[in-house]
């Protein structure tokens, strides 16, 4: 690379005895679109904070345009043209677009008074530089996340950014908005402004990055031009695991033929219509469909969160009435909700308490007091069984990574000894490595005779882990496939998408 903008050499950093970064290099050219990927805890955030001057490296140097930074404060990096856009965007929701864009520049130039005319001009100029047209008098709280992101990018431009670092920029916006963001980044490139994408999602990386730097456990694993690697290879490098897994095979002869759960003609007006399916012991059934296809609503009804208008539910051949989640649990149904943070986890409570919450009654002694040693044994048992990474179940649940949190939620439901386990988006927002582990846990449960229902919008996840599947669209089942091995990812995605188009036209 002849025109280097930023060159980080041999960066190491230790936090209270933990080596966050170990001898890492990062080189970004002028106007280059670079991607920094790695799992949670791989040191990505630490590295960008060192580049931004927020942390000081223990050793190593950072040079911008050939000048080595002292690394003692953030202002130095900002003056050199480095702008970090954090995932939360650091905007002021109560202030106008104009002020949000201009405020950093005013602070940086140490102004004491506000010239409102200049504030508006600065904002207009920054927005027009990337070809955006947003009402500058609107309050930021009234804008969508994607628009807010554009405000944050414009704000970076007012400070003469030469390198914009975006931390997990695509996690909260739609795929349409991601495309739009990419066009903005290409415009920045034309102006000679480099972008560093920090991400743990692999698929979006290839679309835009020229080069990819991969970190794992604080170490540099390599720098690859994006046309020389594919997703599978990257996943392998990132996790060190060969994640190519064999599809799940259902051994029909091993268990009884009576379905553990069967629903017939389940209908709820405006949500889903005439849904019928069953799950036998040892089966993993997948449900795929876009958001709004009714997939989540159906399983919420099965679990008693919402009542269906008509239709019937059978558990082991007998019709049952499920009016609330307690009824569902009594019939041996467990449900892992889509949003584990707000619906599945008490995040300031201990890991152990989270695990036993569903079965806490089992630990009551005759005196109605808790049998603490028994409770503790149960907690330890599940932490070991699901290999939850924690020194003790006493630590709060929010001290865990996403993947481990998900294991806690799974353990919590397994403690109820369910016969049917419904998992809605079991691996959303989870690292590839942890994702693999969770899939293994699910397969093990099925092999022992549990019936599993997985809801996902990833075709690959469904095909790899389910022996059969159901495609939903507009509240109806539009296709069933009895053997996942007979259908390809592209074909499945086509079914999901094509039906949506024709459905929208009808």
């Amino acid at each position: 690379m002849e025109d280097v903008f930023l060159e980080a050499r041999n960066i190491s950093k230790t936090f209270v005895g933990v080596k966050a970064l170990d001898d890492v290099d990062l080189t970004i050219g002028k106007g280059e679109i670079h991607c920094l990927i790695g799992e949670n805890g791989s040191g990505k955030s630490t590295l960008i904070k060192i580049i931004g001057g927020i942390h000081k490296a223990d050793s190593g140097t950072i040079a911008i345009d050939g000048n080595v930074l002292s690394g003692k404060d953030a202002i130095e990096s900002i003056r050199a043209g480095v702008q970090i856009i954090y995932q939360d965007l650091s905007l002021f929701p109560n202030l106008t677009v104009a002020e949000n864009i201009s405020i950093n520049q005013m602070l940086e130039t140490n102004q004491q008074f506000v010239n409102w005319k200049k504030v508006r001009e600065t904002a207009k100029r920054a927005l027009s530089e990337i070809g955006e047209d947003i009402d500058i008098d609107e309050r930021v709280e009234n804008l969508s996340v994607a628009k807010k992101q554009i405000i944050a990018i414009s704000r970076a431009l007012t400070q003469n950014a030469k390198l914009i670092i975006m931390d997990e920029a695509t996690s909260a916006i739609t795929s349409e908005e991601v495309k739009h963001l990419f066009t903005i980044i290409l415009k920045l490139k034309e102006r000679g402004i480099a972008t560093l994408f920090v991400s743990h999602k692999l698929s979006e990386v290839f679309e835009i990055a020229e080069n990819i730097t991969i970190l794992r456990d604080g170490k540099l694993l390599g720098v690859y031009p994006s046309h020389e690697v594919n997703e599978e290879r990257l996943a392998y490098i990132m996790t060190g695991l060969n994640l190519k897994s064999e599809p799940y095979v259902y051994e029909a002869t091993k268990f009884s033929e009576t379905p553990l759960l069967e629903v017939k003609n389940l209908t709820k007006k405006g949500q889903y219509n005439d849904v019928s399916f069953h799950i036998k012991p040892g089966e993993i059934v997948g449900v795929i469909g876009l958001i709004g296809s009714g997939r989540t609503e159906v399983v919420e009804s099965i679990f008693g969160i919402d009542q269906p208008d008509s239709g019937s539910i059978y558990v082991r051949g007998e019709e049952v009435a499920i009016r609330n989640p307690r009824d569902a649990m009594r019939h041996g149904i467990a449900f892992l909700p889509e949003d584990r943070l707000t619906q599945g986890l008490f995040d300031v409570q201990s890991i152990g308490n989270n695990i036993v919450i569903t079965v806490i009654k089992n630990f009551l002694k005759r005196s109605k007091l808790l049998d603490l040693p028994k409770k503790k044994n149960c907690e330890v048992e599940w932490v070991q069984k699901l290999a939850i990474k924690t020194p003790t179940p006493k630590n709060p649940a929010n001290s865990l990574s996403g993947g481990n949190q998900q294991r806690v939620v799974i353990a919590k439901w397994l403690a109820t000894d369910p016969k049917v386990f419904i998992l809605d988006g079991p691996t959303i927002g989870i690292d590839i490595g942890s994702k693999h582990t969770i899939h293994e846990i699910i397969r093990d449960l099925a092999r022992q005779g549990m019936g599993i229902l997985i809801i996902s919008d990833e075709a690959q996840e469904i095909l790899d882990n389910c022996n059969r599947g159901i495609v939903m669209s507009n509240g109806r089942i539009i296709r069933e496939f009895s053997d996942s091995r007979t259908i390809g990812v592209d074909e499945l995605l086509d079914i999901v998408a094509r039906r949506v188009e024709s459905g929208a036209g009808a």
């Binding site: 650091s90 002021f92 405020i103 602070l107 004491q112 506000v114 307690r326 909700p337 707000t342």
Partner: protein
């Protein structure tokens, strides 16, 4: 301002209620809508309005200050006592001293809020009890009667900047209190709108973490807010003294909820970041009108207290509902789960 924008602002509704309420009172009692009554209302409510400015600033920054009334009475009672003991009869002296006490007590609040990062409501609840207790212990509990009051304070209370004759030959006028209020409003407006310190108050109320990252000195901003609120409370203490010509160390304390309600009524969000001075003043006017005229429309004054409670709870509910609304209405679904 066009009509559509007028109705988008919550202040507009407060203004409409004030107009309707005033019209209603005027029908019952035509004496209400006279210049003399208006001047009298301005004289008696200027003090509350000045306190409200301070409460408003704190609310904008995302905090709540319940100690402003205590600071006002401590400023008033301590400085009038010192003034009498020292035999200094100067309105400048008592204003200066009371404002100074206000600044010092405000700075103590700021230390807890900013350095120790404690919740503002708890801090100001604690310090108000602490300040009041300390004052009663070290400066006594005896009220200062009008006879002992320095002459300068008494004449200041009756000083009018504009004097008009009544039909019977006596006069009435516009009190200097109102001029002080207007001056403080202009200064505060300028600070909030045109200085980086003022924008910093809005910024930390909107997103404290982002304010730090952007480079605001949030510690400095907190010190400014609480010392300025203390300063305003000190000024209010002296105005209150020259208005009622009597200093009782248990006065003013206990009216803070009314002041906070007035500010919330004026559209300032209790979660911080949003609100205007105009709205705050409209809120003060409405609360004052209610206070003075409930009897006239046949309701006991206890309704005032009741009403303040309603305003505060509604203010908090609206903030909560807005937050829930932005969440897309997605709250905890599994409500039956034990």
């Amino acid at each position: 301002m066009n009509i559509k924008r007028f109705f988008k602002r919550s202040e507009s509704y407060v203004l409409l209620i004030i107009i309707l309420f005033s019209a209603f009172i005027t029908i019952i009692n035509p004496a209400f809508l006279t210049l003399e009554n208006l001047f009298d209302l301005l004289r008696s409510s200027s003090g509350t309005a000045i306190l409200a400015i301070g409460v408003f600033l704190v609310l904008i920054s995302g905090g709540v200050d319940v100690s402003c009334t205590t600071i006002a009475i401590v400023g008033q009672y301590v400085s009038v006592n010192l003034m009498i003991r020292a035999g200094i009869d100067s309105i400048w002296f008592i204003f200066g001293l009371s404002a100074f006490i206000g600044i010092v007590l405000g700075a103590i609040n700021a230390v807890f809020v900013s350095l120790f990062k404690l919740p503002t409501l708890i801090v100001t609840l604690g310090t108000s009890s602490l300040y009041h207790g300390a004052m009663l212990e070290f400066f006594g509990t005896r009220a200062v009667n009008v006879g002992d009051l320095p002459q300068s304070v008494k004449s200041f209370g009756t000083f009018n900047v504009l004097t008009l004759p009544r039909a019977d030959g006596t006069t009435y006028g516009l009190s200097i209190f109102f001029v002080i209020l207007v001056a403080l409003l202009i200064i505060t407006y300028f600070v909030l709108k045109f200085t980086m310190v003022g924008r910093g108050i809005y910024a930390i109320g909107g997103n404290l973490e982002a304010a730090k990252r952007a480079g605001f000195n949030t510690r400095k901003t907190h010190f400014f807010i609480y010392t300025y609120a203390g300063f305003l409370a000190g000024i209010m203490g002296v105005i209150h003294l020259s208005l009622i010509r009597y200093s009782n160390p248990n006065y003013i304390v206990g009216t803070e909820l009314g002041v906070i309600a007035a500010v919330v009524l004026g559209g300032a969000r209790i979660s911080g970041g949003t609100g205007t001075l105009t709205g705050t003043m409209l809120g003060v006017i409405l609360i004052t009108l209610l206070e003075k005229n409930l009897i006239m429309i046949g309701l006991s004054t206890y309704w005032q207290q009741f009403f303040i409670g309603v305003v505060l709870i509604l203010g908090v509910s609206i903030t909560y509902l807005q937050a829930k609304f932005q969440d897309g209405g997605r709250t905890i679904i599994v409500k039956d789960e034990e």
